[in-house]
Amino acid sequence: MERRKFLGLGAGLAALSLAPVSVWAKDYRKELPNVWKIKNNEADANDLKGVNEAIKAIFGTDKPEEGKFKLKAPDIAENGAVVPVSFTLEKAKKVALLQSANPECVVAIWDIPEGAIPDYAVRIKMKKTGKVIVVADVDGKIYKVEKNVKVTAGGCGG
C-alpha cells in the first residue's frame, strides 16, 4: 500500500513538471471556465449585475476604481456585427473586455506578457445598445472604464 502511494505521488509530480510545456501562456478558457458563461440581463442592458460578477471572478473584486486610461468605441454603431473597440494602457498585468448587450458578458481576457504594451484593438459583435467595459489590473490595482455604445442594427442575428 505504502509503495503504491509513493508511486502515485511520483506520477503526480511527473505530470506537474510537464505542465509548463503547455503551448499557451495563460488560458483563461481553462483557468476560468465559468466566467465565459455568466449571463447579461437580456431585458436591460443597463443592468451590470452579470458584468460585475464576471469582473469579480476575473479580478477578485467587483469594486474597481474608475480608470484613467483611454477606451475608444463608437458612440453610435451602425453595424453591431463589427464594433471597433480599442484601449490604451501604459502597462497592465491583465485586461478584460466585457459588454452588457450580448447574452453573455465576457468578450476577451488578455494576459499581458513582459514586454507587451497593452495598446490593443479588436472588433466585436453587439446585439443591441449597451455598455462596453474594459477592466485592467495595473500593479495590483483594478481600474475600470466604460462607454455606452448605441447600436442601430444588431450584430448577433442570422
Binding site: 501562456a25 450580448n102 476577451a108 506578457p113 479588436v122 448577433c156 442570422g158
Partner: protein
C-alpha cells in the same frame, strides 16, 4: 490569416485579420449549425509570448486585432489561433 508587423522606435505594431466565421451560440442555433469561434490567440517572438488573448464568441466575424510589444525589426513573429473545436492555424511574418 493576414498579419503585418512593423517596428518603430523599439515598438512593434501588429495588425492581423483571421479568417473565421466566429459563429456564436445564438447564430449557430438560428442557422442550425454548431457554435464555433476562436478562443485563443497567441503571438510569439523567439519562442517568447508577446500577445496572449483568450477570446469569446463575441469577436466579429473574421476577427481583426491590433497589438503592440517591445521588439525590433528583422525578427519573426508567429501568430496562432485555436478555436472551440480544436482547429488551429498559425502564421509567421518577418517584423519590418
Amino acid at each position: 490569416m493576414r498579419v503585418k508587423a512593423k517596428a518603430k522606435d523599439g515598438v512593434v505594431s501588429v495588425m492581423a485579420v483571421m479568417k473565421h466565421p466566429m459563429l456564436s451560440y445564438d447564430m449557430a442555433k438560428k442557422q442550425g449549425k454548431e457554435a464555433n469561434f476562436i478562443i485563443k490567440i497567441t503571438g510569439k517572438v523567439d519562442g517568447k509570448v508577446v500577445y496572449d488573448a483568450s477570446t469569446s464568441q463575441f469577436l466579429s466575424k473574421n476577427p481583426f486585432i491590433k497589438f503592440k510589444f517591445k521588439g525590433e525589426a528583422g525578427k519573426e513573429l508567429e501568430l496562432s489561433w485555436a478555436d472551440l473545436k480544436g482547429n488551429t492555424k498559425s502564421k509567421k511574418v518577418k517584423i519590418k
